[in-house]
């Protein structure tokens, strides 16, 4: 599977990654080589094989809806790049 430059730019766009020109060129070659190596999966007939998403028998584990103390707000906001009035501050979302 050979990726075009446009495809690499599209994937970077979906991934929300700003890439340099040099990175786009490098990833185009590397990702193409990796995907080519992975084409061998197509050799296997898997029509009737169910997919495995998790190996455990657990599904949607529930707990009692008991209130518990949350993390301390001040302590959490100490890690924020920008905070104001007890909230995370971000660039304007609406124009």
């Amino acid at each position: 599977m050979k990726l075009s430059r446009e495809e690499v730019e599209h994937i970077a766009d979906l991934s929300k990654l700003t890439l340099s020109e040099e990175e786009i060129t490098r990833f185009q070659g590397q990702l193409s080589a990796i995907l080519e190596h992975f084409d061998r999966l197509q050799e296997l007939e898997t029509e009737d094989i169910p997919p495995t998403a998790t190996v455990l028998p657990l599904r949607s584990v529930m707990r009692e809806d008991d209130a518990r103390p949350p993390l301390d707000r001040e302590k959490v906001l100490e890690n924020a790049p920008e905070a104001e009035d007890g909230c995370f501050r971000v660039p304007a979302v609406l124009e």
Partner: protein
């Protein structure tokens, strides 16, 4: 016995001396901190040291012991891989995007170590977000193999493995998504245990691939790995994928007796390209197990060859979702302030290193419209076939043994420019994560350059006791684990 330097003690040796009052936790911790001071400038196993907190914890441990408390980890200096959250101690996952992040809570495994009275010496280096096999993908620096400082320690838990090998902690926690505990253990000549998926809580483990990640242990010998597992294993309501199963006393499994244990040797694990000395050492270990009374037979894991593509589609796909949280809003780096969109893109573009970007791109592609069925769904189906291979093999045998890694430690820089070659370093360890089973690496020899070789012992899900028993019986008959690198 008193001529052994304190930093070289195993946990169980330290346990005896601490209990007998021959040594204090403070003296033991000071010895380990001195060792770090003397060697870590070269080895570079630690990203952050916490000497003051460690000595405080050691004094507290001595007080608890004075008040009649005990326990195998009370006053024992341990290191923590920097992908596990530690309250009040910076946690970076080896990434610039988390530089300066101080977790407001402890991972469950860290909390359990603290409650057991362990002393935490610091946070160890890792490939960024645990993505790598050499620590060369750490955004900070590359850790060096204590057996040869020009070579990698393996990865991603290379800092933890190197710290244990260097005597810069008595044991350490790591994480294993595709071999990240076992492969560096093999390359550094220490013991590495990856528990079954669901055995140990992942709460507070910085997520890489959530259906594969598991917290593991790096230790100086098998008994220490059993002791550590006994403390960290068990159900945690904070992790919906942790199984509510009793935790056995794993030390009870260490009988030294493997008489009649059925040991399978997979023919697919002795492939072209495996270093001849690795194959010879592993075959020698299998012979030793047979001499001890194990029933050795060949088994087949026919889909082994497909594990690498399956893993490198599923793990990046899960990572691409897990790493979406690094958006510059709540923690870590923030760049590109002119708009929200620019902030996301520039924060991630500048904060992530090349391998992390590569995997996010690969995973995003595998999940994207038009390619989902051909890549992601196909990989999940072949994952079923890989798991079925193990289920069938474990109908016939109790454990499976093979090499941990196809080669001994490679030179720093040797594979850095070829991601596919780097991925092949994990070719023997990926399958266990895909199947959710347990596995460990135990030293089984050295190559002619003096580099350690690891034997991998694998068992069915939740059969850690059986795996530890076989690894321990082999270890008792060898002295590889008693050798130390010259530093």
């Amino acid at each position: 016995m008193n001529d052994v330097a304190l930093h070289q003690l195993t946990i169980h040796e330290a346990r005896e001396r601490l209990a007998a009052g021959e040594v204090t936790a403070v003296a033991l911790t000071e010895a380990v901190l001195d060792r770090i001071g003397a060697t870590d400038g070269e080895v570079k196993a630690y990203l952050a040291l916490t000497p003051e907190q460690a000595l405080k914890q050691a004094r507290a441990a001595d007080e608890r012991r004075g008040a009649g408390e005990g326990g195998p980890l009370l006053g024992v200096p341990l290191a923590i891989k920097d992908v596990l959250c530690t309250e009040g101690i910076p946690t970076t996952a080896g990434s610039r995007i988390l530089e300066g992040f101080v977790p407001p809570y402890d991972a469950t495994v860290v909390r359990r170590l603290r409650e057991a009275g362990a002393v935490i010496t610091g946070k160890t280096n890792t490939d960024e977000f645990a993505m790598g096999s050499s620590t060369e993908n750490s955004a900070y620096f590359t850790t060096r193999n204590p057996w040869d400082l020009e070579r990698v320690p393996g990865g991603s838990s290379g800092g933890s493995a190197a710290a244990v090998a260097a005597g810069s902690c008595l044991a350490a926690l790591g994480s294993d998504t595709g071999g990240s505990v076992r492969q560096p253990a093999g390359l550094c000549g220490v013991v590495g245990l990856k528990p079954s998926y669901g055995r140990v809580s992942r709460y507070g483990l910085i997520a890489f691939a959530s259906s594969l990640d598991q917290v593991g242990v790096l230790a100086k010998d098998v008994r220490d790995a059993a002791i550590m597992l006994g403390v960290i294993a068990g159900h945690d309501p904070c992790d919906g994928t942790s199984m509510d199963l009793p935790v056995p006393d794993y030390e009870v499994a260490l009988t030294g007796d493997v008489d009649g244990v059925r040991v399978g040797v997979p023919r697919e694990y002795f492939i072209e390209g495996i270093q001849p000395e690795v194959e010879a050492a592993v075959r020698g270990a299998v012979d030793r197990l047979a001499e001890l009374g194990a029933e050795v037979e060949e088994v087949s894991l026919p889909h082994t060859d497909y594990a690498l593509p399956v893993y490198y589609l599923i793990a990046p796909a899960e990572a691409s979702a897990n790493l979406a949280r690094y958006d510059g809003v709540r923690y870590g780096l923030r760049e590109g302030r002119e708009s929200l969109e620019a902030m996301y893109r520039d924060t991630r573009g500048q904060g992530f290193g090349p391998e992390v970007k590569r995997r996010i791109m690969l995973g995003t592609y595998a999940l994207s419209a038009g390619y989902y069925d051909a890549y992601y769904l196909k990989a999940q189906k072949v994952r079923t076939l890989i798991k079925d291979d193990f289920d069938a093999a474990f109908e016939k045998v109790d454990v499976i043994v093979g090499p941990t890694s196809p080669t001994t430690a490679f030179r720093i820089g040797e594979k850095a420019d070829d991601p596919l070659q780097m991925y092949l370093a994990d070719v023997f360890t990926l399958s266990m994560n895909l199947a959710g089973i347990c596995g460990m690496s135990v030293p089984c020899g050295f190559d002619d350059q003096g580099l350690p070789i690891g034997l991998q012992v694998m068992g069915p899900a939740f059969a850690e006791g059986e795996v530890l028993r076989v690894a321990h019986a082999y270890e008792q008959e060898s002295d590889w684990h008693e050798r130390h690198p010259d530093l």
